[in-house]
Symmetry: C2
Subunit: 133 residues, 2 copies
């Protein structure tokens, strides 16, 4: 399956792509940073650092956490977090729709690769270790 994803880069310094989008989505879905991190097979610390990076990019919190209560707290997206995620998914959908033909053409090149078709990943004839080229 061929899939097109997008990444938005800001001044070439920081960016927002599929990983951060998925993390925000999972926090919203699971109501917990820890469970979102587990679903992405990353540590709580990694998830926390990614969320802190998103906050730094957009200048305000994208997640809010509650403490206490019967459920012992929980996390959800702020309005900004929701807006960032929604806009990203819209852009991704627009990009995919604008490229449906091209994605098919790319898929065709890859699908005619016998190494992929058989499920065995034969390496093609290797690049020569060219001298100075």
């Amino acid at each position: 399956m061929v899939r097109l994803t997008i990444r938005v880069d800001f001044d070439g310094k920081d960016g927002f792509g599929p990983g951060k989008a998925r993390l925000l989505e999972l926090v919203a879905e699971k109501g917990s940073i820890r469970r979102a991190a587990a679903a992405m097979e990353m540590s709580y610390r990694q998830a926390w650092l990614l969320l802190a990076a998103v906050e730094k990019t957009f200048g305000a919190p994208v997640i809010m956490t509650a403490t206490g209560g019967t459920r012992g707290g929980g996390a959800r997206l702020t309005e900004l977090g929701e807006a960032v995620l929604r806009r990203y998914r819209t852009m991704e959908r627009n990009a995919q729709q604008a490229n449906s033909g091209e994605i098919g053409a790319f898929a065709k090149i890859v699908d005619t690769n016998p190494a992929r078709k058989s499920g065995v990943r034969r390496a093609p004839k290797p690049l020569p270790r060219a001298r100075g080229t």
Copy 2:
């Protein structure tokens, strides 16, 4: 400046994104894997591994090298390499055009971030180190 880039993923195993595209472009431009690698501030080995990965994805060489001659060899794109690069750039352009409004909206959120405006990257109020959330 906000910039949208794309990545094409195949079966979630391998992919083709801005780095590999730029490398192919530089090989074509400089006529040399070594000079292309230098322009991307990567080692010859790193560039070689990236090109080998692209070949593995598409099942055929994307680069051809010449040996001997007055210029001591050189590298250029195969027809497949050119097609992959051209299609990628078309998809990128389509994605950007389909999202001009959304890119502007994203840029607006980031531009109103005072930490970015001043050039000083103040960290926003950090996420709480929530217990179990």
